[in-house]
């Protein structure tokens, strides 16, 4: 939860670099890179959205792939019925994700810690199995999307279009989150993570704040789903299988929890690494696995620990004093 000083210049630099990708790819005659990075941007978007709940509010949602899936099927199912109007699909995706987010969030936020992790997972699994058994929409074979989303002015017909769409949305979302982080809402949201009891004691409703964040996050993740659907021209239950949720978390942690550009860097790092290791050996998971473990062991703030600012962040709450029984007792007495 460090306030990244470097975030200020990271954003423009990062996005200018990303904007260069298609041209570089053209110049190198490697249009494939556009596709690859389009996919990266889509997952970056999802990671940013997850950051809103996981990074800011410290809510470990292990089922965020659910929203990706919902976004995908919003496109898939509509186009299955011949509706390829992008705006309508967008509206549906947003509406569905918001609604699901509201319901699921209301249930999940009653729990905390491991409970929350598991119940979010449970809901994701439910939707996964639901789509698997919906043979009308291809079941687990997935659903081909023949008509790309048509937004009137532009169509998400090819990788390049999707790339630019993703780039723009990601930029908007990044700026939005950067603002939100410093805004009163953002502050309270982060505060709920550090010390929910105190937040309540100031008369804010921790539940409401977290729910709002969860819904927002769900909707943004849904957008990623919508883009993914167009990128692959396909909607499949495997988009919302639980390993995907896991990978989102990995990206986020690699990049840096609660940082603004972290999720993007994390997504790039993760997918590029994966691509690279795959090139090395067919058993690339033998490398990827330990790498992730190491990351988990060393990183407190993802790549922020490379570019750490002077003053060290807070010592892990449980670190020093908790050793003293006195404190153990006090907290037992005080908490709940």
């Amino acid at each position: 939860m460090n306030r990244v000083k470097f975030g200020a210049w990271m954003i423009p630099v990062l996005f200018i670099l990303l904007a260069a990708v298609p041209f570089v790819a053209q110049a190198m005659g490697e249009p494939f890179y556009v596709t690859f990075f389009a996919r990266v941007l889509v997952y970056a978007l999802a990671a940013c959205a997850l950051n809103l709940v996981l990074g800011f509010a410290g809510l470990v949602s292990f089922g965020h792939a659910m929203f990706i899936g919902l976004g995908c099927y919003a496109v898939g199912i509509l186009s299955y019925y011949g509706i390829s109007d992008g705006w309508l699909q967008l509206l549906t995706a947003v509406a569905v994700c918001a609604l699901v987010g509201l319901v699921v969030g209301t249930v999940c936020l009653r729990t905390s810690g491991i409970g929350f992790i598991m119940i979010t997972l449970a809901f994701a699994q439910m939707f996964y199995f639901l789509m698997v058994s919906m043979t009308t929409f291809g079941g687990d074979d997935g659903l081909n999307i023949n008509e790309p989303s048509n937004f009137g002015l532009f169509e998400l017909s090819g990788s390049t279009e999707v790339y630019w769409a993703a780039w723009a949305v990601l930029l908007a979302v990044t700026i939005f989150l950067a603002r939100l982080k410093k805004s009163p809402f953002g502050m309270v949201l982060q505060a709920t993570h550090i010390n929910p009891r105190r937040v309540n004691a100031f008369g804010y409703s921790v539940f409401r704040v977290q729910l709002a964040a969860y819904v927002m996050s769900g909707v943004l993740t849904g957008l990623a789903g919508l883009l993914l659907a167009n990128l692959t021209a396909f909607a499949s239950p495997s988009y919302m299988s639980w390993p995907v949720s896991g990978e989102l978390i990995v990206m986020l942690v690699i990049g840096g929890l609660g940082t603004i550009t972290g999720p993007i860097v994390g997504a790039i790092a993760f997918l590029v690494m994966e691509e690279f290791f795959k090139g090395l050996t067919q058993h690339w998971m033998l490398i990827m696995g330990p790498v992730i473990v190491v990351i988990a062991l060393v990183s407190k703030n993802g790549f922020a620990w490379l570019i750490r600012r002077r003053e060290e962040p807070a010592p892990a709450p449980s670190a020093a004093p908790a050793a003293a029984p006195k404190v153990a007792a006090a907290s037992a007495g005080e908490s709940q």
């Binding site: 410093k182 502050m187 982060q190 009891r197 105190r198 309540n200 100031f202 804010y204 003053e311 007495g333």
Partner: protein, 251 residues
Amino acid sequence: MNAIGLRTQDLVKRFGGLRATDGVTLEIEPGELHAIIGPNGAGKTTLINLLTGELRSDEGSIVLGGEEVSGTPVQQRVGMGLLRSYQITSIFDAFTVVENVCLAALRKKGVRWAVWKPMSSYGEVMEKARAIIAQCHLSDVADTVVSNLAYGQRRQLEVAMALAADPRILLLDEPMAGMSAAEGAAAIELLRSLKGRYTILLIEHDMNAVFSLADRISVLVYGKIVATGSIEEIRNHPEVRRAYLGDDADA
């Protein structure tokens, strides 16, 4: 911003077998600084948790400014101006002092839809925050991340946050615990300057503070009020001397 009074009637809180609060009846006048002393584990903090609503009382009633509030949620009581500080310092570690105080100061506004403008651009809130920070002698560390504050300063911030949420009645749980003598003295001055403006319920083991600030004192032992009265009455109250001040108390 007028101070309000507080009354409890036969308040009871059980933790499993243990009656942490055992029929507490307490009357606090508006504007009064009322101290509660008592041995560790007497139920002081528990009592505060009951008053704020963070714990649900098992029996008895709590009347806040003439309004029955037992059973109402924390938010509502805060809305009526009931604010507290914590014995176990509970401030927002990752934030700066200003941000901490602002969070408190913002409570009246609420944060619905406040997702775009940075908190620092809320002029009047910032001013208020800065003023209170100055009042609590924290100006020079205003922009430090609080995890880097000294223990005493954290304690001061604890009080500052309670003040910033513009309370009408303050519940302070051992605000001086862990403060150095100097800090303690400053804190005493601060509280004295606040006297009368707010109703204050002060829990403190530091007798100098209590005896130099309190209008009235109640002594809580084993979850029961064994005595309530002026400083003199309490000093010379035999049972209090036995139960808390100790037989050899020469305060």
